[in-house]
Structures are given as C-alpha cells and as structure tokens.
Symmetry: C2
Subunit: 76 residues, 2 copies
C-alpha cells in the first residue's frame, strides 16, 4: 500500500487532528501537507476530492474528512 | 494507551470508513461499536462527545468525526 496524505492548514482543529492521526498511524505511512504554506498543492487536494481540512487521503483514493477546520475553497 | 472506540451505524459511509480505519489502525487497538444494533451504547457515544457517525473516540478522549453518515440525534 502506498502512502496516505494528511492535508491540513495549520488551524487548531487541524493541529489537534494531526497529532491524533500521527499517534494512530505510523509516521512513515503518511505524508503531511500544510496547504497554508504549500499553496501549490491545494489543486492536488481538490482533485483528490478533499472538501475541507483536515483530511486524510488514503492510498486507495478514499478521502476521510476528519472534523472540520476549514473549507478547501477558502484555501484557494 | 487504552483502546479507541469506532462508533458507526451500519450506513454505507460508516462501513467504508470502518474498512479504511481498520486498515490504518491495528485491529486490537480499536473496539467497533454498531449503534444501530447496540442502542444502549448511544448514550455512551453521546457522553463522549460524538455528534455524528462514523466517529472514532480516542484513548485520550478526543473525538474524530470522520465524514458524515448520520447524526447521533437520529440514533436516539
């Protein structure tokens, strides 16, 4: 299985979720992308089906939206 | 760290999320509770802060609401 990608935007909800997710999943199984500082990757997240952050895009293509920090539209 | 509890209600969103979560987390780290068949546990989920299912209540007490299948209020 490939890597999952955890998209976030530095919001408090995101940071809390990130810490929780990284306790559950082995760090080497997940790539963490901060869409606030890596604006160029917003289009990748959008194309993957991410509607809000924090979100975890799995290797199988499924998107898990975890709680709600910010809409992807607000990051464009 | 204690066990996490994954609450769901048998909905398609729940089942899909359950399969994904159980691929990410070791099965022995998570207890799966079906609130549709275990109605008595709805109050536990409510007390833990679960607003909708599927949701993962972590050992540290944090609640991760994953996507949206059904409101906890609709299960009461």
């Amino acid at each position: 299985m490939g890597k999952a990608v955890f998209y976030h935007a530095g919001c408090p909800v995101c940071v809390s979720a990130e810490q929780d997710i990284l306790q559950l999943i082995l760090a080497e199984q997940v790539e963490v992308v901060h869409l606030g500082t890596e604006k160029g990757k917003v289009k990748d997240a959008d194309a993957a089906g991410v509607k809000s952050v924090p979100a975890l895009v799995l290797a199988n293509g499924n998107v898990l939206h975890i709680n709600f920090g910010a809409s992807i539209d607000d990051l464009k």
